[in-house]
């Protein structure tokens, strides 16, 4: 743990300075505008203690939706990304052509347009509701990025490992499973974690089709209350809390894997 603190100390300090300046600027700005701060209303949106007992507030519920949505999309991205990477690396001509076509399509499509495609086109055809369309869209979009991470990780394992695996009679699938993939994990972990953070951030886009996650919740609250400064500060802080937690978790994982091999 102390090492974790050491390696992160400088970025954290820089980050705090930047945040401080940002807050100062907005505070002075708000003052100049004559903004009426009402921070006392925010905790109610996190949780409430009423006569009926404890209740989660809208922002917390939005956070849960953001997390489930991101997690489900990430799982889809992992599965689809692995398949695309394996196809791309296979000696099946059709397979690798398909993989490349998929990659080029997704990479050259704005995420927003892809989301509209999923919701307005594929949605009615396959009976996807807005939530399902969002999960699939994010999953597919990130599958392209994830597949490149898999590919790089797999290619980072030396060809000698493949030859040794083949020479003891392992099939291609077995060579992947027992020899190559376990060794690529340490190459893939850091960028994969980056992708997890990325997915949480890009999940905010589904607010355009009114899936009620963190960002949509924020917008809805503001529509009712005009507390735009307080709410956006809170929403931003919640996103930061998620992504920073993820980063720290990953640093920890990296350390563990580094020790093992």
């Amino acid at each position: 743990m102390p090492e974790l603190v050491k390696t992160r100390a400088i970025p954290v300090v820089l980050y705090l300075i930047v945040m401080y300046l940002l807050v100062r600027v907005s505070l002075t700005g708000a003052e100049a505008m004559g903004y009426n701060w009402q921070w006392y209303r925010i905790p109610d949106y996190l949780f409430r203690l009423t006569d009926d007992g404890f209740q989660w507030g809208e922002i917390s519920l939005g956070l849960v939706t953001t997390l489930t949505l991101s997690l489900q999309a990430f799982l889809i991205a992992l599965a689809a990304g692995l398949i695309v990477a394996l196809l791309r690396l296979s000696d099946l001509v059709v397979g690798s052509a398909l993989a490349v076509a998929f990659l080029e399509f997704v990479r050259n499509m704005p995420l927003l347009v892809l989301l509209y495609l999923f919701y307005y086109v594929l949605g009615p055809i396959f009976g996807l509701d807005r939530y399902a369309a969002s999960v699939l869209c994010l999953g597919i979009y990130h599958a392209a990025l994830v597949s490149e991470i898999f590919r790089a990780g797999i290619q980072a394992v030396s060809t000698g490992q493949w030859e040794a695996a083949r020479s003891i009679g392992l099939s291609t699938g077995q060579a992947y499973r027992f020899v190559v993939l376990p060794q690529s994990i340490k190459f893939m972990l850091p960028p994969m974690a980056g992708e997890a953070v990325h997915i949480v951030k890009s999940s905010a886009i589904v607010s355009v089709i009114a899936v009620v996650e963190l960002t949509t919740t924020g917008r809805n609250i503001i529509a009712d209350t005009y507390l735009s400064f307080e709410v956006w500060f809170t929403v931003a802080a919640v996103y930061l809390a998620i992504t920073l937690t993820l980063s720290i978790f990953v640093t920890f994982l990296e350390k563990r894997y580094a020790v093992k091999s």
Binding site: A164, S167, L170
Partner: protein
Amino acid sequence: MAGRRPIIEIRNVDKYFGEFQALNDVSLTIHAGERVVICGPSGSGKSTLLRCINRLEEPSAGRLTVDGIELTGAKDTLRRVRTEVGMVFQQFNLFPHLTVLENLTLGPMRVRRISRSEATERARKYLDRVHIPEQAEKYPSELSGGQQQRVAIARSLCMEPRIMLFDEPTSALDPEMINEVLDVMVELAGSGMTMVCVTHEMGFARKVADTMVFMDEGEIVESSPPDAFFSRPSSKRCRQFLDRILEH
């Protein structure tokens, strides 16, 4: 080796990498139990020939039969042949994420489909055979080069192959570790294993080889018993090569 059964038959094999011809009309018959040592200058196609025998490379033309199985592209014959042919690499190529024991049991359990306990027993037997029974629980990175190469030999032996291929098994080793690996190989030769070794260790070659093969520019230039090979090589290229590597 007269009267013995041919176990590897190489007939008119060519191998191209793009335009470049790495093997040129190579023919060689190796009998069961025979020990063949292949030498030749760098780039002469020695590795390529070995790799064709267990199909890590696919010949561009010609025929190759191993233990009666004709090597075609078909997946099942390929795997059958690979389980009969062990290969030891210059760079060891141990699986770094697995312990020594796991390196040795992976093939037997996943390919031969024997139980873990049987595979472990077998692994310990071959670790004994290569004189490192005490290293079973370590990771490859914790071993010396010579120990790693002996683990690699044991890993191949655990598949109980009929043929062992060695591609310069001692060239990546510090001089003081070369003998521990060669000793294991000499013992293996004594057990009657069919062996094809690419090596420039001529002391080892004299001790174990039944046949010496000299390759140059993708061709087999000379193939003869060691006595004749070392005392009166018939080609000039071979004589020059031997003079060069034997002079010190």
